[in-house]
């Protein structure tokens, strides 16, 4: 049995989605065109994951096993729609960047996966930490991937477009929009993801050898 700290930290490296826990690849590839898209999607997913994990864990002894998946989906979908409406009202630009991928959090396999594999078998405290850890790990992964793609693709880093928070790291000439356009195109997402996984595996291998 893991300690509570381990329950939280496992999501940040050991089981970090989408690299170690190979779930949630669709949003990973789709919204990481910018740093903002990455962290925005990550935090929205974290919110839904934490809320649904807590509620499902609280109800785990009441929900009949045969209708558990249907119940989980109703709970998850509710939190997703709440997230969607709140984002539309308060962070409209982010909501437009992420577009249809916000409602699609309902079918993000990380959330149903954690509900079925973890929250329905563990207490509320553990489920909260599990959701928070996995969610923040997902946010970290998406933000790094999005930041890397945006930096290589356009030379910029968008922190929060609504507040005009963006940095130009590599200045481009007049009228030039892209540095390396491939990176912000869909195939660039695969290559970038692969490169990050390679790096993570190298680090894991090194630390395993050292131990």
């Amino acid at each position: 049995m893991r300690t509570l700290t381990q329950e939280f930290t496992k999501g940040l490296w050991e089981q970090i989605p989408p690299f170690r826990l190979v779930l949630g690849l669709c949003p990973t590839l789709a919204v990481t065109k910018s740093l903002e898209g990455g962290w925005g999607m990550g935090l929205a997913t974290t919110f839904v994951l934490v809320c649904s994990n807590i509620l499902i864990s609280a109800l785990r002894n009441v929900i009949p096993p045969k209708v558990r998946i249907a119940t989980f989906i109703v709970i998850i979908a509710t939190f997703v729609v709440i997230t969607e409406l709140v984002m539309k009202a308060y962070t409209p630009m982010l909501s437009e960047t992420l577009g249809v991928f916000i409602p699609l959090i309902v079918v993000n396999c990380i959330i149903l996966g954690r509900a079925e594999a973890f929250a329905s078998k563990n207490g509320m405290g553990r489920s909260l930490l599990d959701g928070l850890g996995i969610g923040l790990g997902f946010t970290l992964a998406l933000a790094v991937l999005g930041g890397l793609r945006e930096l290589l693709g356009t030379g910029k880093l968008t922190m929060f477009a609504q507040a005009n928070l963006d940095l130009t790291i590599i200045p481009l000439g007049e009228g030039r929009e892209f540095l390396f356009k491939f990176m912000v195109d869909p195939p660039g997402a695969f290559v970038c993801l692969g490169a990050m996984l390679l790096l993570m595996n190298l680090i894991s291998e090194r630390s395993a050898k050292a131990a």
Partner: protein, 201 residues
């Protein structure tokens, strides 16, 4: 007990009921904020673009009117907002929001009319969820499909070329083009039937 059919139905029913309550609450809280934002950030810049050079004497956003469109097939009340611009005490321009079902969902269009010479001043997509690269091109103001509406005379009705009209579709995006045009046609009809009476006020 947890395996009894009635118990499953009750649990699922209660969960769904509470979910519905929560959603209705959140929707009630966020809808006014979202509507205000759309008005300020999407409609206002478009209206400024269409009417900016006309020196209107009123603020069309503030003087907006709600237009009752009756009920749709499912019996839900349909409304839209009508923006009227006055000059010399007379309504000279109008704009309104209409929607039609496209390929991936509703396409919402803002159409602006010049009433004296019965011309469309311009059209703008407010929201859409069409296919990227094809139907989603209706969001691009520089798109020839969008541009062709500007200056079009609407007194004889607007129609697609396949229906004997003047509107050319975006190739590869027939459904989206037809839907967009349908929304413009709807706006034209609404202006023709409603603005005459509104102008008297």
């Amino acid at each position: 007990m947890r395996n009894k059919i009635w118990f499953m139905a009750v649990v699922l029913g209660i969960v769904a009921f509470l979910a519905g309550l929560a959603l209705a609450g959140v929707k009630g809280m966020t809808t006014p904020i979202i509507e205000k934002r759309i008005l300020e950030q999407k409609i206002k810049p478009s209206l400024d673009e269409f009417f900016g050079s006309l020196d209107l004497e009123n603020d069309c956003i503030e003087d907006r009117q709600v237009l009752d469109l009756g009920k749709d097939a499912r019996g839900r009340k349909q409304v839209t907002t009508l923006f009227l611009g006055k000059k010399g005490g007379k309504v000279v321009v109008a704009a309104l929001k209409t929607k039609a079902a496209g390929f991936g969902g509703d396409i919402e269009v803002l159409t602006a009319f010049s009433l004296d010479d019965k011309k469309i001043l311009g059209v703008k997509t407010l929201s859409q969820s069409e296919t990227m690269g094809l139907g989603a091109r209706v969001s691009n103001d520089a798109e020839p499909f969008i541009q062709q509406f500007s200056g079009m005379n609407y007194s004889d009705g607007v129609a697609m070329r396949s229906n004997g009209g003047l509107v050319d579709a975006i190739s590869g995006a027939t459904v989206s083009s037809v839907a967009f045009t349908a929304a413009v046609i709807r706006a034209t009809e609404l202006v023709e039937t409603n603005v005459g009476s509104a102008a008297a006020n």
